[in-house]
Each structure stands twice: as C-alpha cells, then as structure tokens.
C-alpha cells in the first residue's frame, strides 16, 4: 500500500459534519492567507530569496527569454528577483573596479551566447583602472528599447557599488510614447510612478496599470510565485551548462531595400525635419538618469550605439527601416550637443560597423564584431575614469 494512510487513518472521524468543518476551515484559512499576503506583500521578500550566487553561480545577464525551456531562463517581472540572480549582487572583490553596461538587446546580447556579449568582450580586454584595480564589466542590458528601462535598471544597479557606467542608447529608445509600454516597466509600475514623480518627468503615469486589491492576493500573484519557483529550478541547468539563451529563430538580415518614405518607423506623426522641436523624445528621462548617477558621483560614458546603414534601395532617404536620414541626423546632432553642453563623456559609434556585420535588426551585430565595439569603447572608458 502506498503510505498515504497517515493522512486519512482516522476514518471514524469522517462524518459529514467533519467534512463541512474542514471545508469551512480551509476556506477560512485560504481567505486569511490571502489577506495576510495582501497586507504583508511577501513577494518582495520572496523575490530577494534566491539560490543564485549561493548554491548556483549568479547569472551574467538579467533574466530574459522568449524560449524558457530551451534557454533555462525566464523573463521575470520583479526587478528584485532579476537582480537577486545576477552576478553583480555578489560582494565586490577587493581590487575590483565595477562597471555596469546598460542598454537594449544589443547590450544584453540577443542572438549571442553570454560569453559573446559586449560586457564579456570588455572583460576579456583585462582593463585596469588608474589605481590598478581590475575592471569588471557587468551586463545590465535588457532587450527593451526604452531609456526609462535603462534608468530603472541603473537605479537598482547603483545599489551594488558601481564605480562607472557605460550607457548605450539609440534614437528608438528615446521616443516618449515607447517609454512605459513594456512589461518590465508595467511590472514595476509603483517604482516607475515614484520615479516619474520624483524627477517630474513629462510622462503619463496613468498609462501604467494600477495594482488592484485582487492583484496583491496569493491568487493574483500566482504567476509571480510560479515564475520565481521555475526560475530557481532553471538555476540547476544554468549551473550545469552555463547556457542562458536559446535563439528561437533567426529572423533574417535587416531590410536592405528600404521604403520610399521619410517617416520614422511607428512614429508617422513626426513631421520631417522637426524631430527635436516636437518634444517627442524623452530627453528628460536621460537627464534624470544622469542626475541619479551624479548623486553617487559615478561617471557615465554615453555611447550612441552602432546601427545598420543600408546600401540598398532608397538608402539616400533612410539609413534603415527604423530611421530616415533626416531624423537620425537630427538626433545625433542633438545628442552630441547635449553631451557637450553637460560635459558628459560621449562616444558616437553609429557608423562603426559594416552593414554586412548586422544580423536580424538594425541594432544587432555578429559575435565576431562585438569585441571590435568593445575595443572602441575601452579607451574612452579608461579616459573617463582616469
């Protein structure tokens, strides 16, 4: 006999009254636990609990996956849980100079293994700071085009003794309408709302989802609980294999023959020649990010990231499917001016890579040239921190 009879051995007790009491008690306890959950909000504490960096090694990049089963990785909603699994939360080594690199999917390393990313290439350069400390670059990129997301990750990353920051961005990450759309920002809505209020940003926080009473119950948080558990389980596979990414599909090269259009992709409301004047870019978010690091006296190297420049049809009008030339040129000029006006260390790498080296989008490039980009960045990083 399977030994489950210890659960049910007092058969003589099992009257209908007994069952009614059990059902009532179970219902009562269920309601009670949900209420406790609502008021105590233990998810914050649970998200801090992790097997990473203790039982398993910390992850090299933030949790993200569109193919969890194959990647042994998962897109999480909670920033706490994301950072808890990251290697950056390990205690700093004595002679370490800690640099975080933030940005979009090209920094996170979509289509790249975790030893092929920009941070990994920078680490293989074995850089030293002026005082002789070994520079370790931590990958805090995340595959979302939004500078607000960068600032959010930067705010959290600053809790981990950063000595410097490399911030890669592009025009697409600056559109105001794109800032709050993504799950990572919606899942951390209260934090985002507080940040918008604190820095008086020109963003509509009403578009962020309101957390209802129901959302805060165990039932409402079941997905977060399940994700937390699954993510801990994937830690075993991460530990065994060192794999954290499985490319679900190769999407093909960026569009070479471009449309005969002056519009910015997904932003048709912006008039030609008037990108900066229309106040559609979230420069205030970028500035807020700088305010944030300024308080901690952490230097930031701002990098305009490489983009694909088509040599196909209509390339005289557009650089790629995202950017018409006029818009991107306006953006570049303004970003350079902004950096100059504020005294920000700035590096423009927009045309540093050949078109043939790009993979599936105008922002992703082949593993072979990632380290070339790292080599272009490294002298500027060293110059900034010296």
């Amino acid at each position: 006999m399977a030994r489950w009879d210890w659960l049910t051995k007092h058969k003589d007790l099992y009257t209908r009254y007994f069952i009614l009491r059990v059902v009532l008690k179970a219902t009562g306890l269920f309601v009670l636990f949900n209420l406790i959950f609502v008021f105590a909000q233990p998810m914050n504490m649970i998200n801090d609990v992790t097997l990473y960096n203790t039982v398993f090694p910390g992850r090299d990049r933030l949790p993200y996956s569109d193919n969890p089963q194959a990647a042994y990785n998962l897109s999480l909603g909670s920033l706490d849980a994301m950072f808890a699994s990251h290697i950056i939360t390990e205690n700093p080594v004595e002679d370490e100079f800690r640099v975080a690199i933030i940005g979009d999917s090209s920094v996170w390393g979509v289509l790249l293994d975790n030893d092929q990313t920009l941070s990994s290439c920078l680490n293989t350069l074995d850089l030293k700071s002026a005082d002789g400390r070994r520079i370790t670059v931590y990958n805090l990129g995340y595959p979302v085009l939004s500078v607000f997301k960068d600032v959010l990750l930067l705010e959290e990353g600053l809790n981990y003794d950063l000595d410097a920051v490399i911030w890669l961005t592009t025009l697409q990450a600056l559109f105001e309408v794109e800032q709050l759309r993504h799950p990572i920002l919606n899942d951390n809505a209260s934090r985002v709302r507080a940040f918008i209020a604190e820095y008086n940003l020109d963003l509509d926080s009403d578009t962020l989802p309101e957390s209802t009473w129901w959302d805060r119950t165990i039932v409402g948080q079941r997905r977060a609980l399940s994700d937390w558990l699954r993510f801990q389980a994937y830690g075993i596979a991460w530990w065994m294999t060192g794999e954290d990414y499985a490319s679900a599909r190769y999407l093909g090269a960026p569009v070479r023959n471009l449309p005969d259009s002056q519009n910015i992709l997904n932003q048709p409301q912006i008039d030609v020649g008037d990108l900066i004047g229309q106040d559609v870019l979230a420069w205030d978010v970028l500035m807020a990010g700088y305010e944030l690091v300024a308080m901690r006296e952490v230097p930031v190297l701002l990098v305009n990231e490489p983009i694909y420049r088509s040599d196909g049809l209509n390339n005289e009008l557009r650089y790629n499917e995202y950017y018409p030339r006029w818009a991107y040129d306006e953006y570049r000029a303004y970003l350079a001016q902004l950096a100059d006006d504020n005294g920000w260390p700035y590096l423009d790498l927009w045309d540093s890579l050949e078109p043939a080296t790009f993979t599936d989008t105008p922002f992703h490039y082949e593993a072979d040239v990632v380290c070339d980009v790292a080599e272009l960045i490294s002298p500027h990083l060293l110059a900034m921190i010296d």
Partner: protein
C-alpha cells in the same frame, strides 16, 4: 489528464454519487467512461482517424464481451447467445455515443466519411451482434478459442503499430488524409491504448485459461472495466475479476471515502503538477546532457530525472486511485516507496505494480513453467535468466518499441537475475551478518543505495533516444570520455 479534467471529475463525483441511485451508477459510469474515452481519442478536432480508432476500440470491447459469454449446455435448442436486455441497453448506449461522436465531428468538417463511418460501425455492430447470437453454442465454443487468439494477435499488432515509431508515423500519414493541421504527418497517438490493450488481453488470457467467472461479463461491466475514466490514460491496470464484482456492489460516497479520495487526489496533483513538472524543467534530456560539461552535473541531472519520473507517474496513479475512490471503486495501488527498497526485486514489487503483476501473471509464470516442463529443460539458472530478461525486455518494449526501451528492460532483467543468484548464494551469510542491529542497518542502507543507483542508471536508457547517446552518458557518468 489535465488539471481541469481532474478537477471536473473530482467535483462531479459527489453530484454523481449522491444524485444517482446505486443501481444506476454502473450505467452512469459506462456513459461517462465512453464519453471520456472517445473524447481522449478525438480531442476537440475530430478527424476520420479518431472515428476509426473509436470504432476499433468499441469493436474490440464488443468482441471480447461476446467471447466471454457463457454458452449454456451446448445444445442447439438451448442457445444462450441471445442478447440480454441489459446488454441491449449497453449496445444502445454505445451506438448513441458513437453517433454523437460522428455528429460532433460533422459539425467541424464537411468530410462525409466522418458521418458515414459511425453509421457503418453501428450497422456492423448490430449485424455482428445479431449474427453472433445466432451461432450455436457448440460451434461458438470452437470458434471462441480461435477468435480469442486472433484478438490477442490483433491487439499485439495494434500495440506494435502504435509503439514502433516508423509504423506509428506510417499509420499517422495514412489515416490522416483528411487532416490539414500541423499534426498531419506526425505519428499516430492513441491515448490510453497501452492500458486498454492490457486490460482486454487480461480478460482474453483469463478466458483461455478458464479463469473467468462462469457467468461471463455483461457488456456494460466489461466496458466500464476497460474504459474506466480515472484509470484510462495512465492506469493502474486492474483485473476484471476484482474490478467488476466491486462495480456491481457499489459503495456509497461516505464521508470517509470522500476524505480519502480527495486527499489522494490532492497528493497526486501536488506530486505531478508541482514537484514533477518543476523537476522536468531541469532533469535529464538530450539537449541538457549535451550542454552539461561536468560529471557531477550529469549525476545531478540523473537524480532529478529519477525523481521526476517517480513523482510524475505515481502522482497520476494517486489521482486515478483518488478519483476511483470518489466513484466507488478501489483501484489497486501502483507505487509504494520504490526508491527505498534494498534490492531490485523489491523495487519491481513496488514500481508500477499493476504492470509488473500483469507480466508476472500472464508472461513470467507461464513462460517459466513452459521452460521447466519442456523436454529440453535448460539448467535452472538459464530458466531464471531467460524468464527475467524476456519479461523485463517486454516491459521495456511496452513503453515504446525502441532499442533503448529494450536495453532498459534487459538492464533490469539482468539486475533481477544477478540479485536472485546473489541472494540464493549468500542467504546463510546474510542471515548471520544481519542478526545484530548495526550490521543489519548498514547492509540495509547500503543495499538501498546500490539499488537506487542501479535503477537511476537504468533511466539513462529510458530517457534518451538512442543507445549511442546512452552509452556516451554512461561512460561520462563514470568519468570516462568527454
């Protein structure tokens, strides 16, 4: 079974048990089991292949029912082949469910074969039942033994067709001519047939061996026995001689039964959907093994797989047993702490118990007897070796006809043989050594450790697709190879 189906069956149980009179409950179970079985065969998108499989399933049940009917005193005048009223009702129910399936399928497609096939099936069923009832008992008896063999061969052929990947793909492509979905070229899958086949074969083999109850089984009882929905998809494999009498002495859903059943279901759900499904994320799989670089990592994956498969399978069994309790049937146990047994023989007495019992009763014992009684009687150890290895190889092949399942079976067969030889030759020593507490404990824990690892290493064959992969992993587990 999905969680939704399990929860539905669990909540429907009190309504059924308290709302339907005891006399009518077997009928209710028949209707429920038929609907569930055909649902599992067809799913939400019924194609012609599903109708064919459903017809085949019901045809098998009706054939076996006809076979096991008592034949009276073997005189033409006293033919007992007449269909009883109860069997008539059962045939009407089967017909209605079949037509319902056809109608449901016709709502989804304009393929007329889907409508014609059930009608043809019903007509064949009617003509067949009528013709069979006219056969004189003396002729019938002679026919029946041959038909029983033919049915057993047919079932084995069906099992082979479904479990041999190449054949399953062939049948899938052939029978899904009217399917345009992505599954059109995939192997044919007949959910639950492994269990259905073994229940039917048990009846046929018992019939041939004269072990069946004299009064035979009614069509209703046989249908419920073969298709009982809690045990349809993943067992346990009950025996008709135990199941059917209980079906006819229905238990009320007492408070004790309700508590036992629902507790068992809760335990099963937790084991399957929380523990096993979490372990499945990271347990041994071909991709994960390829990416794992260290020997320690491979051992961890192996342990995780061992526990995943246990919690998965035993969880499903708990759910089936719990649902059975709620519906008034005590299904047999299938797992009983298999990983803490001191030898492989005791492991097999506690792992998938109903399957191993089936093979012991219907293959191992008759085969051993055959060898013992044969004129070329081989030595004792050869008889044991052959019986153990062939039994376990067949158990392996029951899971799927692949080299790896065969090797898994042989691994256990050899293990059982070696254990038997060792136990026979060390009995005196074992008795002396284990007379005191500490040596007994040490030997017990050592034996459990060795047995668990023997079983766990065997899972390498079970989990991986080919023998080359398995051998590579086995060598890597012991630090050999890259």
């Amino acid at each position: 079974m999905t969680i939704e189906q399990i929860v539905f069956f669990a909540f429907a149980a009190p309504v059924f048990m308290w709302g339907v009179s005891a006399r009518m409950r077997p009928w209710g179970l028949m209707v429920g089991s038929l609907l569930a079985a055909l649902w599992w065969v067809g799913g939400t998108q019924v194609a012609t292949v599903d109708v064919i499989l459903s017809l085949l399933l019901l045809g098998l049940i009706v054939s076996v029912w006809w076979l096991v009917q008592p034949t009276g005193d073997h005189t033409e005048e006293n033919s007992s082949g007449t269909i009883t009223t109860e069997d008539g009702y059962a045939l009407v129910i089967m017909t209605s469910v079949l037509l319902l399936l056809g109608g449901f399928a016709l709502m989804q497609t304009d393929n007329l074969s889907i409508a014609v096939l059930p009608v043809l099936g019903v007509v064949t069923l009617g003509i067949g039942a009528n013709s069979l009832s006219q056969i004189a008992p003396s002729v019938r008896d002679q026919l029946a033994q041959s038909i029983a063999w033919l049915l057993i061969i047919l079932i084995i052929c069906l099992l082979v067709s479904l479990k041999l990947p190449a054949l399953a793909t062939f049948w899938g492509e052939l029978l899904r001519w009217d399917t345009t979905s992505v599954i059109a070229d995939s192997p044919i899958v007949w959910i639950g047939f492994s269990y259905v086949a073994f229940r039917i074969m048990a009846v046929l083999l018992d019939y041939r061996a004269g072990r069946l109850a004299k009064q035979g089984y009614s069509l209703r009882d046989l249908t419920v026995y073969v298709l009982f929905f809690p045990a349809f998809t993943a067992g346990p494999i009950d025996r008709a001689g135990r199941f059917i009498p209980e079906l006819n002495q229905p238990q009320d859903l007492s408070s004790a039964r309700l508590v036992e059943g629902s507790t068992r279901i809760a335990v099963g759900l937790f084991k399957k959907f929380v523990i096993a499904d979490s372990l499945a994320l990271v347990s041994m799989s071909p991709a994960l093994i390829d990416q794992t670089e260290t020997t320690l990592g491979l051992w961890v994956l192996l342990y995780l797989y061992a526990f995943q498969i246990y919690f998965d399978f035993s969880g499903y069994s708990d759910v089936a047993i719990g649902l059975g309790r709620l519906y008034g049937i005590t299904l047999p146990e299938n797992f009983d702490r298999p990983y803490i047994q001191p030898n492989v023989q005791q492991f097999w007495q506690r792992w998938h118990m109903t399957l191993s019992t089936w093979f012991r009763v219907y293959y191992f014992t008759p085969f051993s007897r055959l060898l013992i009684r044969s004129s070329y009687r081989p030595p004792q150890f050869v008889i044991i070796l052959l019986s153990q290895v062939t039994t376990m190889a067949l158990i392996g092949l029951w899971h799927g006809i692949t080299v790896n399942f065969f090797l898994w079976g042989v691994w256990h067969g050899v293990g059982l043989f070696l254990h038997k030889m060792l136990a026979d030759n060390t009995r005196g020593w074992h008795k002396r050594v284990t007379a005191t507490v500490w040596p007994r404990r040490i030997i017990y824990f050592g034996s459990v450790f060795v047995t668990f690892h023997f079983v766990a290493i065997g899972w390498v064959f079970f989990a991986l697709p080919g023998p080359e992969d398995s051998l590579t992993i086995l060598t890597r587990l012991f630090g050999v190879g890259g």
